[in-house]
């Protein structure tokens, strides 16, 4: 018997599915399902997150009755299922776990809200429930179909690959990538995060569609959707994000109230759209190394589908290769002694206003006036430059001397210096326009200060 094929969006978990089971004593049980995965024409997998009544029932009596919804047209389908097996390892389990852990981590529920098993069911029958809605809502469904087809996306890939081949510097690469994602594919909200030298954190080095928000924002490896993608090195797509987060928060509230209360980490604010409904994050990997994460968001409930996943993976791979090349090339060229900085021209502050900068040694944090500016490696770089300028009037600096300064703590290879400078420049543009770092030759830059500086250092903030 062939099983009716449902639109893939029915499996995206946007509109929760319903499940009824029956205990051995004949008592029915009915509840929601957070996730239904389509495995093949004859099988689906359901996530088991708690050993609940549903699971207990199917172990006694394997039959289940499930209603699934098309989240666009709201049409309903009835599936008769028979429990086959529970998987606790393997690719199916891993991919379901990734999604659940991302949501768990995002709501501060790691360890509480977790996948126990992927439960595989045979599909005995699948019927569309025609009498569910008053009118056929086919028109509603078809309106939401994407207008663009494979051809337009192939052209987009062509354009992106042409442009990426021609970029020479990291900031060009980031600008070109995010601009092309919008122009060629319609992704209006995107960002790139790079892994720092510890490999334990990612920092946002480029973004588009968020105004000034988010540059320099950090994400710990394994935390939130982006951190989970970075930790697992696997693409993650979440639709109807609000619903799943709401589900996570409902569980969180239940745990907070339960007698066995435990410490929950505070919820991490998602860097990005406050009302994002769909989110996709892709790891940027070169060889075995994680370079960073490319993340796109949408306000549409079903912003991204299987097709977006396929071509964005090609984009991510191309970006990873380009990124690796740009970073290596810049470091290699900086280390050659050939290029010399131009003769230093004294730059006079254009006004006599004094701006106070403070450096907090305990967390390498720099404040301009009362505003937080930057921390960690870029914070130390800025402080080194400001000190040199303040103490001896120096304005010309080279990447090479930064690399050789042990205080900055850059690793000997793959130091990410260029990305830290890109981030530092953007933060200065946004938060402290009185200062700028201007490229003078490859591997050389000049500090231009349009005010007097007053520097203070202290141990704590």
């Amino acid at each position: 018997m062939t099983i009716l094929k449902l639109p893939p969006r029915c499996y995206q978990g946007v509109t929760p599915a319903l499940i009824a089971t029956c205990a051995a004593d004949g008592t029915p049980n009915v509840t929601y399902l957070s996730q239904v995965f389509s495995l093949d024409d004859r099988h689906v997998a359901l996530s088991c997150q708690f050993f609940n009544k549903t699971k207990q029932n199917v172990l006694e009596n394997p039959y289940a009755s499930v209603q699934l919804y098309d989240p666009v047209s709201f049409e309903a389908y009835l599936l008769e299922l028979r429990f086959e097996r529970a998987e606790t390892t393997g690719p199916l389990f891993e991919s379901m776990k990734l999604r659940i852990e991302a949501i768990a981590s995002h709501t501060g529920m790691t360890g509480v809200f977790k996948l126990i098993s992927s439960d595989v069911y045979e599909v005995l029958s699948c019927t569309k429930l025609d009498a569910y809605l008053e009118l056929s809502s086919i028109e509603i469904g078809s309106k939401a179909e994407p207008l663009a087809g494979p051809r337009s996306e192939l052209r987009g890939l062509q354009l992106l690959s042409q442009r990426l081949c021609r970029v020479g510097r990291l900031d060009e690469l980031l600008g070109t990538l995010l601009q092309t994602l919008e122009e060629a594919f319609g992704f209006e909200h995107s960002m790139v995060l790079l892994a720092d030298e510890t490999g334990q954190r990612l920092y946002t080095v480029g973004s588009r569609g968020y105004g000034e928000q988010g540059i320099g924002a950090e994400v710990k490896l394994g935390e939130g959707l982006i951190g989970t993608v970075a930790a697992q090195g696997k693409l993650l797509r979440v639709s109807g994000i609000e619903d799943e987060l709401r589900y996570g928060r409902a569980i969180r509230a239940a745990v907070n109230q339960s007698a066995g209360r435990r410490e929950l980490r505070p919820e991490i604010a998602l860097a990005g759209l406050p009302d994002a409904q769909s989110h996709m994050a892709l790891p940027l990997v070169s060889g075995e190394r994680l370079l960073g994460v490319l993340a796109v968001e949408s306000r549409k409930r079903l912003g991204f589908d299987d097709w977006d996943e396929a071509f964005l993976e090609i984009v991510a791979n191309q970006v990873a290769v380009s990124l690796d090349n740009v970073l290596l090339r810049e470091q290699g060229e900086d280390d050659q002694t050939g290029s010399q900085p131009p003769a230093a021209k004294p730059v006079k502050p254009s006004d006599q206003r004094t701006l106070r900068f403070r450096f907090f040694r305990n967390d390498d944090c720099v404040f301009a006036g009362d505003d937080y500016l930057i921390r960690n490696v870029p914070g130390r770089i800025l402080w080194k430059i400001l000190r040199a300028y303040h103490d001896s009037g120096r304005t010309e600096f080279s990447n090479r001397e930064l690399r050789l300064d042990p205080w900055l703590g850059l690793p000997a290879v793959r130091d990410n210096l260029e990305s830290r400078l890109v981030l530092l420049r953007k933060r200065l543009e946004q938060k402290c326009p009185e200062l700028s770092l201007v490229s003078t030759a490859r591997g050389h830059f000049r500090l231009e200060a349009r005010c007097q500086l007053q520097l203070e250092e202290s141990d704590g903030s």
């Binding site: 509109t15 319903l18 499940i19 009824a20 089971t21 029956c22 051995a24 004949g26 008592t27 029915p28 049980n29 009915v30 509840t31 929601y32 957070s34 708690f50 609940n52 009544k53 009596n61 039959y63 289940a64 009755s65 499930v66 209603q67 047209s73 709201f74 309903a76 009835l78 008769e80 509480v112 809200f113 429930l129 009498a131 569910y132 809605l133 008053e134 009118l135 809502s137 509603i140 109807g240 609000e242 619903d243 709401r246 589900y247 928060r249 409902a250 569980i251 969180r252 509230a253 239940a254 745990v255 109230q257 339960s258 066995g260 409904q277 409930r301």
Partner: protein, 160 residues
């Protein structure tokens, strides 16, 4: 022995929420349905739910066979949920009076789903009539909000 809903829970159940119905046949095969409307009996020991008559044919057959059913009531925006289990007391065709009650339920349901992002125009399409009204005796009450406490039986404090 029947359980009595507290006034607060009775109000919750009648709040235009999402309602799931589970029944089973003689061979212990379960069937899931959505209820399209409900009201709580005056003594708060019974509730009446409505099924879409055409879609509910299997549920009606199951109830005629053994009368056992489970009803989960759930508020979409925070997933607060309650499961009622019990035995059917009576079943009849829905009347025009019932239909008015169902329409009121649908108005509330449309608003609840609108809060979580479903367009009113889409949810409004839900077919509620012709219907079957099923009155059940509440024998058991369970906390069903997602999480480790799901499935917990309500303590005496929640019933009266």
């Amino acid at each position: 022995m029947a359980v009595r809903l507290s006034e607060e829970l009775a109000e919750f159940v009648e709040g235009g929420l999402s309602m799931l119905v589970g029944t089973r046949d003689a061979a212990m095969r379960p069937k899931v349905d959505r209820a399209v409307g409900t009201f709580v009996g005056a003594d708060r020991q019974t509730i009446t739910i409505y099924l879409n008559k055409e879609l509910g044919a299997q549920a009606v057959a199951n109830l005629e066979d053994n009368g056992t059913l489970a009803v989960t009531v759930s508020r979409p925006y925070d997933h607060r949920s309650l499961q009622l289990k019990g035995q059917m007391l009576s079943m009849r065709e829905g009347t025009e009076e019932d239909r008015a009650k169902q329409e009121r339920w649908l108005t509330g349901f449309v608003e609840h789903l609108y809060i979580v992002g479903l367009p009113r125009s889409v949810v409004r399409q839900l077919k509620v009539y012709p219907s079957v009204a099923v009155t059940m005796r509440i024998d058991d009450l369970f906390e069903q909000s997602p999480g480790p406490g799901a499935g917990r039986r309500f303590e005496a404090g929640s019933t009266a």
